[in-house]
Symmetry: C2
Subunit: 360 residues, 2 copies
């Protein structure tokens, strides 16, 4: 259990690391950011930093000396870094979840093992596998690399048989999976948190809309039945319990039309605070960021209760220029990540528009 | 008008500076803390710092080069620092307000000039003045140094004629005022904000309870009539307008019993974010800290609307040890200032307990 004034080490210096550091500060804890990119936005909110490659053992050793526990803002941490650090101190969430979530095939198998439904899928190691898999799963379907994909990168949507030609080459000729296309009605996600003592909470289910494969808006409450919401929360909580998880995690789910027997299928999970949980910052007393820090610090979790209805909108690229009009809107909380350079497709900030809580 | 990535310079590295720096971070702005004490809690939330005396001209010069605007967390800034900096860049709030608020006599005269009532008062420059003033103002009364007082320091409560003996000596034989005792029913405060464009907002009136002359709790809404609340808000807003003020300010007021014709008398003002505004962090979309940063950055102010009822409680000295039980309470938002050393009477943190907004 950490004490006030102790330091949490955070691997990754993007906006998620930045917001975790700000949450640590509110709790009286220090944050030490480790990131290879010296222009990382998280470096602006703490004096404690390491600028080094994730496989630099001397830097990892010095980092381990400075911090009481290590957490991270992204799941694709090199195994060397995790192995090196966990030999010296707690790395939370533990690496059970990294092994599962770094590989889409392992992840899908994990979901199925604990009775969480997924779309049909098949491992793809070459172009021949792809043709065979399409025969059983049908078209349209999604070809995705097993590792290191995010925001639609390393993916190809296959609509017609013609799209198959050269597709395996196109995603880099690396281990992949084919996922059957799911005719979903909505995309939703659950944000759950669990601490070392096994205390588990989940937030109200969020409804997500993507644009160009990047999250655009999150609306809470989601427009779904109460029993679907309860099932979705249970999925988040059972993933956390199954993996002996400590921290915040997100599970993205597809909601299928009423004609389907199993209406909820898991898409993927993220072993960290998640963009679809940014709404908690404005609509809850305890945000996902604070919840994560509490869990990693060995402290009691807080309430996930929501005092307001909310729509979170990402500010991508030039969207950040809307600052003045957003600041002027009395229902909006504006958050900028302080990134020096605006680039197309880059997440620059977000805003939460709150309204009086609807009765449910 | 500041741009994202610009730096706000903050004089003072205590919890107020720390919370302003955290608010700046949310808006994508950097904070540079200037404070002589290298153990200042605000130094833990930004990499940009100056550890130097407030009258160190070389350090002030370097600081001025690094920041786009200067603000402060305390009103007793040496005039040299303000004069030096304002010759180089904007210091906000401007020094009109420092001249007024650094001296209790000037402050009371200012209030009266703009038709805000105060308790009776008289300047005291020696023990004889004190005896004369007691004859006209009566007992009990409060003897206070004109400058550099806070949290009850530099004050003496005079109850009986015997208490007068040696009183002027006791407060340091320095310029002082005597204030008539006001039989107040409640202590309330107004937090107002104003920006360069003249946009002004005030928050709902807070009711304060002190313990050992230090703020203990703030409750919002205050248990007062709507017309009293409206008058109090108008006082805050008119002080801001009168001083061409930019930033957040607080005015502490006494509410007198119904038998008095003028029920509201001003006690003192603070040209900065204020302990009695910490409740805004948990009960409003835009906190007093964010409001101050917006004003100083030349940005639009946000809404002061309150989504919840709230009671703020300070954690003084050993109170901070209650951490676990506070974290476990689902209605409570806990905030620690990360101070390394717990001392009796030292403000270590605070917590906000929110509940559903009462109808009004």
């Amino acid at each position: 259990m950490l004490n006030p004034g102790d330091t949490i080490g955070i691997l990754g210096g993007g906006q998620l690391g930045r917001m975790m550091a700000l949450a640590a500060a509110k709790l009286g804890l220090k944050a030490h950011i480790y990131c290879p990119d010296e222009n990382s936005p998280a470096f602006d909110v703490t004096p404690y930093k390491t600028v080094a490659d994730y496989e630099d053992e001397a830097a990892l050793e010095a980092f381990a000396q400075e911090v009481s526990v290590v957490t991270y803002e992204f799941e694709n941490i090199p195994a060397l870094a995790v192995d090196f650090l966990k030999a010296r101190l707690s790395v939370l969430p533990n690496d059970n979840v990294l092994k599962v979530s770094q590989d889409r095939l392992t992840e899908k198998n994990f979901f199925n093992t604990i009775d969480i439904k997924t779309a049909g899928f098949a491992p793809i190691d070459n172009q021949d596998d792809l043709h065979q898999a399409v025969e059983s799963l049908g078209l349209p379907a999604l070809l995705k690399t097993r590792r290191f994909g995010y925001d639609g990168k390393g993916q190809k949507f296959l609509k017609t048989p013609e799209d198959l030609a050269g597709a395996f080459e196109e995603i880099g000729a690396q281990p992949a999976i084919l996922e059957a296309f799911v005719p979903f009605e909505r995309e939703i996600s659950v944000i759950a948190a669990r601490n070392e003592q096994g205390q588990t909470v989940s937030y109200d289910i969020a409804e997500n809309v993507h644009k160009d494969q990047i999250l655009n808006t999150t609306t809470v409450p989601a427009n779904i039945d109460a029993n679907i919401a309860a099932q979705a929360r249970k999925i988040g909580e059972s993933v956390a319990a199954e993996l002996d998880y400590v921290g915040v995690l997100a599970v993205e789910l597809f909601l299928l039309p009423e004609s389907f027997e199993n209406r909820l299928v898991a898409n993927e999970m993220a072993p960290r605070v998640h963009n679809s949980g940014h709404w908690t910052e404005a609509a809850c007393l305890v945000s996902q960021f604070e919840q994560h820090i509490r869990a990693v610090a060995g402290w009691p979790l807080g309430s996930s209760e929501r005092h307001s209805d909310v729509v979170m909108t990402n500010l991508i690229g030039d969207d950040i220029e809307q600052r003045s009009q957003l600041l002027e809107n009395s229902q909006i909380s504006y958050h900028s990540y302080g990134k020096a350079e605006t680039r197309q497709g880059r997440k620059m900030g977000h805003f939460n528009k709150i309204s009086q809580r609807s009765h449910d």
